[in-house]
């Protein structure tokens, strides 16, 4: 049964001569930064091509150009022999190119069906749209068990992505572009996604280009791999011929730090250059041995003490229901749980964005005053949404480094620019932040370096506890390594770390103790050495767990 029809006379099939998509010499600059440099790329009909590269390598820009969202400075894109007018979204769409964006393009206030209907033309009809959604979700095994009149803003992240995908499929595209689709997915969800893509391609319905920076996933889900580095294509090979090592080398352009094999499920535990990664057991013990008196102030018990915390949840999330948790000095406590079981609320409370309804919080023995105004002394916050909650992009690097601790760079009531600059210079040095001048707005740094700024700011105040929320989300390999190293260093100096991460490998790698949160409570605790990702996933999904829709 044909699921959809392609423009007459251009049904792709294996015997078709010539590539389906052909991009030649695409270049794009933003100001003085080159995003794409003479990129050429072919995608054959019925192929899944993986675009591999670090963040900042140009993957998103390239896909935006192909999709008609961006206009290239040079070069051309041809689909099925027809050249696309550059930067013309409508034309690209008419020819059958659809894109699932990294930052979701759903509109919160509009309902699911309205969002899907937005991409089509013609008369607006709820019935027709609903039919189409049902049809596609059945055909591809997309779990769309959600009321179509739900505003998109109330959906979980995974469901939102599914709506995005349906929105894409509804356009009956010949070429589907997906920009980092697995960034927020769990392992199982990622597998499901790849299965859908396989199905699409197997039935010769479309060709797919997927961008990713996770090596293992790319190796397992594509037919061909194109590696981008600094805006240029450095490798283009069949997946079957590729090895992880070689890809890593190409991606990074040099011998990768030994942990470059990503957060893959490898049994090999490696350390970043210069920082030996101890085996989990040893970590536990050594931490206990080097019991820090090295924390700030006299050691006074746990760095963070949470008792019977209760909070009301927003939207569909579970409330906090009497959560109790302790983070000792020098410990790295990993918090894991299925999305929607209270982690977000806990992070909001610790991040000073929300107040608990009851319960107690103590940092280094001092009670947490539940006033929104004062920033809690002794807590370092690295929020998940770093642009929204973690920094002010339009302020300079120096200013961002000083925020939250202005007292340190002021004489009384007035801020001393000189002191701020000096402090910034010192931190830039210490944390390896690459920016030409501390007076540059933070906006112009890459994601990884923005995160370094945030970490520098928080860690430099020597907090008793560091709350790190998805600290490496969206970062490339080198940046991830750096963040891990900093977290370990901080723990080594006696800071207690609470790490909330949906990346189980990351948690297992870093944590000295793993705590599972289910329905707003701590459901259990495991030693990282005693369990692997699969088992942990099962624990998280144990009886009573609330699975996000």
């Amino acid at each position: 049964m044909r699921l959809w029809h392609h423009p007459a006379g251009s049904v792709p099939d294996g015997a078709r001569a010539g590539p389906e998509l052909s991009a030649r010499g695409l270049s794009k600059r933003f100001g003085s930064v080159t995003a794409c440099s003479e990129v050429s790329l072919d995608v054959a009909a019925g192929e899944i091509v993986g675009l591999l590269g670090q963040n900042g390598a140009g993957k998103t820009t390239l896909m935006n150009i192909i999709a008609g969202v961006e206009r290239p400075d040079q070069g051309s894109v041809t689909l099925g022999g027809v050249t696309l007018p550059p930067g013309h979204l409508g034309a690209a769409r008419a020819l059958g190119i659809a894109m699932v964006h990294q930052e979701f393009s759903l509109i919160d206030a509009l309902t699911v069906w309205e969002n899907v209907a937005l991409v089509r033309d013609g008369r607006l009809s709820r019935r027709w749209t609903a039919d189409r959604i049902r049809h596609l979700s059945e055909a591809f095994g997309l779990d769309m068990s959600v009321h179509l009149d739900t505003p998109a803003g109330q959906l979980s992240a995974a469901m939102r992505q599914r709506v995005e995908i349906v929105k894409c499929l509804v356009q009956e595209p010949r070429l589907i572009l997906l920009d980092e689709p697995t960034a927020i997915l769990s392992r199982q969800e990622a597998s499901r996604l790849f299965a859908i893509l396989r199905r699409l391609v197997r039935d010769r319905l479309a060709s797919v280009v997927v961008s990713n920076h996770r090596l293992a996933e790319v190796l397992g889900s594509t037919d061909r791999i194109v590696v981008l580095r600094a805006g240029a294509v450095v490798a283009d090979l069949r997946t079957a011929d590729a090895t992880e090592r070689e890809l890593a080398v190409q991606m990074l352009g040099s011998d990768p730090p030994s942990a470059a094999t990503e957060k893959a499920d490898t049994a090999v535990i490696v350390g970043a250059a210069g920082v030996p990664a101890p085996a989990p057991d040893a970590t536990g013990e050594s931490r206990a041995e080097s019991a820090p008196g090295a924390g700030p102030g006299p050691p006074a018990g746990p760095a963070l003490e949470i008792r019977a915390l209760r909070a009301r949840g927003a939207r569909h999330s579970a409330a906090l229901d009497g959560l109790s948790l302790e983070v000792g000095r020098g410990e790295i406590v990993g918090l894991v749980g299925v999305e929607g079981n209270g982690q977000a609320e806990l992070m909001d409370i610790l991040g000073n964005r929300a107040r608990p309804s009851s319960g107690s919080l103590k940092v280094a023995g001092r009670p947490f005053r539940a006033t929104r105004g004062q920033r809690l002394r002794g807590i370092g916050i690295v929020p998940a949404d770093r642009h929204r909650h973690g920094c002010v992009l339009d302020m300079t690097v120096a200013e961002n480094l000083a925020l939250g601790g202005l007292r340190q760079v002021s004489y009384g009531y007035l801020v001393s620019r000189a002191r701020m600059r000096r402090r910034a210079a010192a931190l830039i040095d210490e944390y390896g932040i690459s920016c030409p001048d501390p007076g540059v707005p933070l906006r112009y740094l890459s994601g990884g370096h923005q995160q370094r700024v945030i970490l520098a700011r928080e860690l430099s105040r020597n907090p008793a506890v560091l709350v790190a929320d998805q600290p490496t989300r969206g970062l490339d390999v080198a940046a991830v390594e750096d963040v891990w190293g900093r977290i370990r260093d901080a723990a080594g100096r006696g800071t207690g770390v609470l790490l909330n991460s949906s990346d189980l490998d990351e948690v297992l790698r870093l944590a000295t103790r793993v705590v599972v949160i289910v329905r707003g409570q701590v459901a259990g605790e495991v030693q990282p050495g005693a369990v692997n990702a699969e088992a942990l996933g099962l624990l998280m999904g144990g009886a009573g767990a609330q699975w996000a829709a």
């Binding site: 933003f30 400075d73 990294q102 930052e103 964005r353 642009h387 920094c391 801020v415 112009y444």
Partner: protein, 398 residues
């Protein structure tokens, strides 16, 4: 890049001159069309504003309340608040100052100071209503301050038409009793037929102090964080409500202060129209100056010149409302060069010539900046303004 910037400044200056001239000519045309004499109007304009010391002083005098209002608007604007209620705040300030001068303390310099402070307080309280509505009921301050303007007019109307309150004898008109002369602010410059109130000095000093504090004080930082990224305020321990209320009330206070100054500058009692568009024009000054505390000084002077000139033009028989026509056209004129310039800048930027970081705020325009592609997904590393020319939340930044 330096030469680019210089040529841009020259270009914008030239365009400004062209635009203002065009506005001028248009106004003259309007006068001519309705039967007046354009030539005499034009010469009257110049005569009244810049030709002599007297007229210059008058221009500065007119600029004073504008500057005061603009200072407050800038402060609130930096916090992301849009205050459009200055007109009402000026009026309430004037009335509050009058009430103080008539009922509390009358004479000498304590009276003068008290009058000014009372005026500032009046304006602050008036703006405070909107501030409270915003923090406790999430009412958009643009709307609330806007509506409060009209309430202020009625309030003042009431106060000056009741014998037992402020109304001047014989009690048939809606006008208050005037403050006796010794209560007026001393004049900084005095000559035959003209004067410059010392309010001018106060205004300029205040502008300089505020400019400094915005850049350097902790409060100034908090303000800017709130204006640029409100959601991060909690992370840095900024007391959001406190900052918002304080800055909005400060904005009202300077507007009220302008009202207080007007008491000495414009003789006679207070009427419901005493604010004479000083509030709106002061707001305009701040907008045209792109919320830059130092730029408002020359811009306020410019508008002061227009006002002084218009007064003179009216004396030649042209309808008094011509002033508003001038102002509107001039404001439009100031905006247009930015339009053309913006095209230029983008053309240069796309050609990869201009440095993205060398983005000096253009007159009357906040600089375009990019919205990063992802919030939690991490930016794609190239968070430079895309060709789609999307601007992020249009809050002015340092």
């Amino acid at each position: 890049m330096r030469s680019q910037r210089v040529s841009r400044v020259i270009l914008s200056g030239a365009l400004l001159v062209v635009a203002v001239t065009a506005a001028f000519l248009l106004s003259m045309a309007l006068i001519a069309l309705t039967g007046g004499s354009a030539i005499s109007a034009a010469s009257a304009m110049l005569q009244g504003s810049v030709e002599s010391t007297a007229s210059l002083m008058t221009s500065l005098q007119r600029a004073t309340p504008l500057l005061l209002v603009a200072i407050g608007t800038v402060v609130a604007g930096r916090a992301g608040l849009i205050n459009v209620g200055q007109e009402g705040q000026v009026l309430v300030g004037a009335v509050a100052g009058t009430a103080f001068g008539l009922y509390v303390l009358g004479s000498g310099w304590p009276g003068q100071v008290g009058t000014l402070l009372a005026a500032a307080l009046g304006g602050a309280v008036w703006a405070g209503i909107a501030a409270v509505l915003r923090t406790w009921a999430q009412v958009n301050e643009t709307v609330s301050t806007l509506l409060l303007n009209f309430v202020a007019i009625q309030l003042v109307y009431f106060l000056v038409s009741q014998r037992y309150l402020l109304q001047a004898p014989p009690g048939s008109q809606a006008i208050s009793r005037s403050l006796p002369a010794p209560d007026d602010l001393p004049n900084f410059v005095q000559g035959t037929g003209y004067a410059l109130t010392s309010g001018f000095i106060i205004a300029v000093l205040l502008a300089l102090v505020v400019a400094g504090l915005l850049k350097r004080s902790r409060f100034g930082f908090d303000l800017r964080v709130l204006g640029l990224n409100e959601q991060s305020a909690d992370t840095f321990g900024i007391r959001r409500n406190r900052v918002l209320i304080t800055s909005l009330m400060f904005s009202g206070a300077t507007a009220g202060l302008a009202g207080g100054v007007l008491l000495s500058v414009s003789p006679g009692g207070v009427t419901p129209t005493s604010s004479a568009n000083y509030g709106w024009d002061g707001l305009l000054v701040a907008l045209v100056a792109n919320y830059q505390p130092l730029t408002i000084i020359p811009v306020a002077l410019g508008f002061g010149i227009i006002r002084a000139g218009s007064d003179f033009v009216v004396a030649t028989g042209v309808n008094a409302t011509i002033a508003y026509v001038f102002e509107g056209l001039i404001a439009l004129a100031v905006l247009l060069p930015a339009v053309i310039l913006r095209r230029q800048v983008w053309a240069l930027r796309l050609a990869g010539v201009t440095e993205p970081s060398a983005e000096a705020p253009e007159p009357a325009q906040p600089a375009a900046s990019a919205r990063p592609a992802a919030s939690s997904g991490g930016s794609p590393g190239v968070s430079i303004p895309p060709a789609a020319a999307e601007t992020s939340r249009e809050r002015p930044h340092a």
